[in-house]
């Protein structure tokens, strides 16, 4: 079989498998579709990306939102059709399925899992790589934050790719130390909770000024873009996305950029359960929990914690978060690991109860407007559950 025939057969079989998966109610079908494609043509990813202008988006928090956001911005400001996945499928099978989808636009914006980024980087030959942030997440899988940064550091050695990074994150600065072209965005520095020591030389970093500069040289390179210190996580990600869009040819005026930053999307969904509106944040690691807790204003709060693979199987990190924002509020814990979070809160002196299920938790709240924080799979379950919930919608806060 010739190379192009093999690819065509792989894509056709993949499409069929994907449809079948959807019809049988086994999900969106992307992963199965991609697995079939890669089984028939292991080189499909390289072939399908050849001749296309690809942006890869990776980092711990905000990958899916930023990928969707960047695709939208490119459509609006560069006037291009854009291939992208909005579902968060970010491993090789999902990426293969996305690339195979028709129409195959010249522009493709692709979310990539941190651990698969080196492989996808080599196979996709991207034009631009956006690195949002690196912090603790799924340590049972990644082992250490530093290991991810070192893996990236050893991968990014070529000159023909442009990286867009938040240089205030020392793990990202270390990741691109050998890369040729880097657009460094600074938000005037902020202490990184996982970077007490230098990711490059392990010396203790001095954060007394709110920024880092290691004697080994890490942090010495000047930023290319200086942005606003007051921006939150989703807004910082939008600033990086705008820089990537500009590299891809989008003409975005300063006031338009400001508007995009103000309206930064976040992973918050509103559900209607038992007549009560539950505004639910997706949060899956210490950094995103801190962000989500910062947004809590309601008096009654539901926390839903699972520890399936993608959530991180070790829940110890729940102890790394300061929950004082919840003091004086009524908190209900649910999810498979509700006792882990409930005990942690009780030790901090927070009034806490547990409920067997999310609807039970909502039922036990007297207010009609409730905020919730859910771990990854708990959030996905809410999106797909038939609980008499209206369909959740991700959108601006």
């Amino acid at each position: 079989m010739t190379d192009s025939l093999r690819l065509a057969a792989a894509c056709l079989a993949g499409k069929f498998a994907g449809h079948l998966s959807v019809v049988l109610g086994r999900g969106r079908g992307e992963t199965l579709s991609g697995r079939v494609i890669l089984a028939i043509d292991p080189k499909a990813i390289s072939k399908l990306s050849s001749g296309r202008d690809i942006v890869l988006v990776s980092g711990t928090n905000g990958k899916t939102t930023s990928t969707t956001n960047l695709a939208t911005i490119l459509r609006n400001f560069a006037g291009e059709g854009v291939s992208t996945s909005e579902s968060g499928a970010n491993m090789p099978a999902g990426i293969a399925a996305l690339l195979a989808q028709k129409p195959r636009h010249r522009f493709a914006v692709i979310e990539c899992d941190e651990m698969y980024l080196p492989e996808m980087y080599r196979k996709l030959l991207p034009k631009v790589v956006v690195l949002l942030n690196l912090s603790r997440d799924q340590l049972h899988r990644t082992g250490e934050v530093r290991k991810v940064a070192n893996l990236w550091h050893d991968t990014f050695t070529q000159d023909d790719v442009t990286f867009v990074i938040d240089r205030d994150d020392p793990f990202l600065e270390h990741s691109v130390a050998k890369a040729g072209h880097v657009i460094r965005v600074s938000f005037s520095g902020r202490q990184h909770p996982d970077a007490a020591t230098c990711p490059n030389c392990a010396a203790i970093l001095d954060w007394s000024t709110g920024d880092y500069l290691c004697p080994c040289g890490l942090g010495a390179k000047f930023p290319d873009v200086r942005s606003d210190k007051r921006l939150d996580g989703p807004q910082r990600n939008t600033v990086l996305v705008i820089e990537a869009a500009r590299l891809m040819g989008a003409e975005i005026m300063a006031d338009e950029a400001q508007d995009l930053i103000t309206k930064s999307p976040d992973r918050v969904s509103d559900f209607l359960i038992s007549g009560k509106q539950v505004s639910t944040h997706l949060a899956k690691n210490p950094e995103s929990w801190r962000q989500a807790l910062g947004d809590v204003t309601s008096d009654q709060v539901i926390l839903s914690v699972n520890a399936r693979g993608i959530d991180g199987r070790d829940t110890s990190w729940l102890w790394d978060i300061d929950y004082s924002k919840l003091l004086g509020k009524k908190v209900v814990c649910t999810g498979e690991r509700r006792l882990d979070i409930a005990y942690r809160l009780s030790v901090q002196g927070i009034d806490v109860r547990v409920s067997e299920s999310f609807p039970d938790a909502v039922e036990s709240c007297s207010d009609h407007s409730i905020q919730a924080i859910a771990s990854y799979t708990a959030y996905q379950d809410l999106l797909t559950a038939e609980l008499g919930i209206n369909k959740g919608k991700s959108g601006a806060k």
């Binding site: 603790r136 340590l139 049972h140 082992g143 250490e144 934050v145 530093r146 290991k147 996982d194 007490a196 020591t197 230098c198 990711p199 392990a202 010396a203 203790i204 199987r313 070790d314 829940t315 110890s316 990190w317 729940l318 102890w319 790394d320 006792l339 882990d340 409930a342 005990y343 942690r344 009780s346 030790v347 901090q348 806490v352």
Partner: protein
């Protein structure tokens, strides 16, 4: 006189949530109306020599080496341990209190020597997952935790372990997990270990404060029991 709990370098050795052990000890001491003080030691600060309980957590290789060097130079932890202070050291911290361990470049270096334990860098896949042990000392129920480590630790023949592994890896030698020598405890269990094992938390507290009264501890007990039950099924 108040009980002094010293949390050592949690910026460096706080990757896996072990700093929670300090909060749990404070919480459980206060529940018994004991006066308690938490001392936070950060890089550059001297380690107090008169603390009652010293806590070390798990961290990444680079920060582990940095913490070890500072503790060697300072000498405060060794001084306190020699005087009978209680020490609870988890994962990277457990490796630090042993005789030898690999540094961040893989070279064998000397540890603090509080216990006779030798850590080697293991080339097999990282030991990651739930860990269940039968404790070596009486009066404790089955203990559970979550392990995530590359190094394996061999205890000297005279060193009592914290327990015998029922499932998981633990020290990686002779089915042993952790160490409990005098008032010095080491373990590979995160969770944090004292959150998931309230009886162990009280055992550590008792090393420093003597016999404790009972208190209403329903949530901690429910959590510990849920972990034991779930893990015995899998």
């Amino acid at each position: 006189m108040s009980l002094v709990i010293v949390r050592l370098y949690h910026d460096l050795l706080g990757t896996y949530g072990d700093q929670g052990n300090a909060e749990i000890l404070v919480h459980r001491a206060k529940a018994r109306s004991l006066e308690v003080e938490l001392v936070e030691v950060t890089p550059g600060m001297a380690v107090p020599r008169s603390g009652d309980v010293y806590l070390l957590g798990g961290g990444e290789d680079g920060p582990q080496s940095a913490a070890l060097e500072m503790l060697k130079r300072d000498g405060g932890l060794n001084y306190a341990a020699a005087g009978g202070a209680t020490v609870l050291a988890i994962c990277a911290g457990f490796q630090i209190i042993g005789e030898t361990l690999p540094d961040s470049s893989g070279q064998i270096t000397s540890g603090l020597g509080l216990v006779d334990a030798h850590t080697v860098y293991d080339t097999s896949p990282r030991s990651v997952g739930e860990l269940v042990i039968q404790p070596s000392r009486g009066g404790l129920p089955i203990l559970t935790g979550f392990e995530n480590h590359q190094g394996l630790t061999q205890l000297g023949s005279e060193m009592p372990s914290l327990g015998i592994v029922r499932s998981g890896v633990g020290n990686g030698f002779d089915k042993k997990e952790g160490v409990w020598h005098g008032n010095v405890l080491g373990s590979y269990m995160h969770g944090p270990v004292l959150a998931r094992n309230p009886e162990l938390a009280d055992a550590v507290l008792q090393c420093a404060a003597g016999p404790l009264q009972a208190f209403d501890d329903e949530l901690a007990q429910a959590f510990a029991q849920e972990r034991r039950t779930t893990l015995s099924r899998s």
